[in-house]
Symmetry: C4
Subunit: 242 residues, 4 copies
């Protein structure tokens, strides 16, 4: 069942340690088959070196396991909620990458201070508020999805234009059209957090890039006037700057 | 004698350089057989690349060498003291990992500012006071154990719930049910120190996570209502977040 | 056509990930044949692991592709402008290396605070102003070259003496007599940015090195009285300090 | 001539990139045969991957090359001066390791804030003043040695007890009884600088360790009452903490 998607999700999970985004097993990736209404997610707490494509768990959009011998990631309700409310996304990744977590712990957005950020994120990456005691005790992982979606709605942010978020006191989630692209976005998020941290220590001047620079970098790569890359398969994956 | 435990302690020691927790030989791990009242510890000052399982030294709870050709770690009296006073722990690790040492040099607790910390440590990791001149001159390594135990008693902290400490001007100790789990905790401590350092530079706002978030993350993985992982061997080791 | 130069440019591009100067495909290197008035540049958005010397694109000094099946780097107009105005340079590199980008985002020069900097850069590395809305919308990449050249002219800096620049809100460009030397300079820039960042956090005292130290280190390695290295092929490449 | 010493110096040089202490060729190590009054030093500007033991250059205590086809390191006069004035040292290393250079650029001592530092350095590592214009123009490298020796004399520091120094605006030098031990000390210096940097950012409280802690850690490993290690060959090299 969904063997190709399992392979894809497996490979995307295995990229996390390779890209220095996880310590131990602290990350998970999923991807969805929108036609079938099913998504594939990493099992809970299995070390990367032991994981196989067949360990991936298939879950439906009510969060129920449809296939798989192992428990799915304990963050599965967060993934379910995001797939149900961000209708265009195809893959989700959660990590505890340390620069992004530092901003989440400080309850700060990651400001768009350079083109490295703007090539992927059309504006600041928002930091959603911490869950309340009630939200935590009632349904922790599901409400983690809820505070994310609520924050995007409240600020009027398009999740395709800003494909990542921080949750206060917790850490980053990123997404994209595929699992692979979600992992790519999670790495850009970490690099952008590292750069913005240092920028904020260097100066107290305003460092947000202006709207017209955001526009330029976003539309250089998105939409009908995009002119970056080869417009063919060779450059499709991970070809953001050069 | 205790060949399995020697192998376990050897392997846990060899993880320290692999996890970037030590420079040169600056770390040591031990583990105890509570039934026999004996523990196994790394020899003093032997480079990791030359170390063999049979080099491990067997020590009793009076700190006397029972078996082994090499001198045990010079920190052996600290380990002895901790095993005698923290009755439930099975393994201990000491390193000079740089983020944790930076907090120890600043004589500051590592604050619980995110779930990365809270998944392993049920509250701040305390920084025990520096040893007095008398404590240093009388019995330095033994008194290092003593200031740790005294600080946990003074603050009423359960060493199973917060399995690590800093000693002011010196560095971190971590422990756990096994040598392997102690090393895991030492790594989480280092990552948590790195994150909290950056958090403290980003903001002067209060960043401690609330008690109910500590409760949620601790009891998600500990005690009878835990629901994280696979509840089987495959996920037992190092499966803290996903 | 220009097979040797393609090989050289290919190898210089492949050094970028090896020297930790790029994430994903975020860098590009070119080199020029001044006699023919043609330069060779990396194709746009091709992952390093898939790239071959024959993928390199040949471009003339009007920025027109002369040979190659792939699109050249989208930053080609910047390279073209720099080759046309900095007549002595033979190779150019652009990266998003994070320490240099942090200074660019803060719109700050990288100050010459130590001999590590002064051995390669005869003074501060300037940060050129951010492009205006008009400059971005009219001809973004070409105007990136223009703000660089204008800033060197305005300050009266010799591009051979200070072979690198930051562009505000964007990142670093470096150059040199060859592609290989340009990559070398890009790495020194990153190390120098890292050092100066930490220096600026340690103290608010003046930390610029004096003019006579700049003179000493520059003329120790450049011009007729240079006495560094072996004056033979073995030490020619990358022999800046010892 | 001095083939064993050449091998030793070669191996010590090759450790610099392995220990992350150098970028490109930016480091040099030498060692002296006190009986013959000759020292062996790395050639100038030769990449590590091309270097052979036979490339090492033999120099006398007047700084004259006695054997070798290549130019010795351009820092040779600094080494000569140090061997002539610090009579007990057997090996010297110079690097541009970035944490140490950051303190040198800030013209600050590296404070002894933890036992990681105190196990190797019996007090702060001093930052010698920047060379004057006259000192630079007359005899730059020789006067670099002179400001080091003068600073140790002025402060009354024993170079065996504090085997390293920073030179303002330049960087670190370390030494020891052998080339290998000098490289060890250079690595401890870098780690200690990293820790002290972070300590100084965490707190404005006094963080120097007290004299009695310096005494304890120094005499635990030095002199007739030392009790660290195995007192045999196996633990002789690099066995400072455990």
């Amino acid at each position: 069942m969904l063997e190709d998607l399992k392979q894809e999700v497996y490979e995307a999970n295995m990229k996390l340690p390779k890209l220095d985004l996880v310590t131990f097993t602290w990350g998970n990736v999923s991807a969805i088959d929108r036609d079938k209404g099913l998504f594939v997610i990493k099992p809970s707490g299995v070390p990367y070196e032991d994981m196989k494509p067949s360990d991936m768990v298939v879950v439906d959009l009510d969060g129920k396991v449809v296939e798989g011998d192992l428990n799915p990631s304990s963050d599965t309700p967060t993934h379910t909620y995001l797939y149900n409310h961000f209708k265009t996304i195809g893959g989700i990744v959660h990590t505890h990458s340390p620069w992004a977590v530092s901003f989440a712990a400080a309850k700060m957005d990651i400001p768009a201070t350079s083109t490295t950020h703007a090539d992927t994120f059309y504006g600041d990456v928002p930091c959603a508020p911490a869950l309340t005691q009630k939200q935590i005790e009632e349904a922790y992982e599901l409400n983690t999805g809820k505070v994310i979606v609520d924050e995007f709605n409240r600020r009027g942010i398009d999740p395709d234009a800003v494909p990542a978020v921080l949750v206060s006191q917790h850490g980053p989630f990123a997404w994209g059209p595929t699992a692979d692209k979600a992992v790519y976005n999670a790495k850009v998020l970490e690099v952008s957090a590292e750069i913005s941290y240092h920028t904020l220590q260097l100066t107290r001047d305003e460092t947000h890039v202006p709207q017209y620079l955001l526009d330029k970098h976003y539309y250089r790569k998105h939409g009908k006037n995009a002119y970056y890359g080869q417009n063919n398969a060779k450059s499709k994956s991970h070809a953001e700057h050069e």
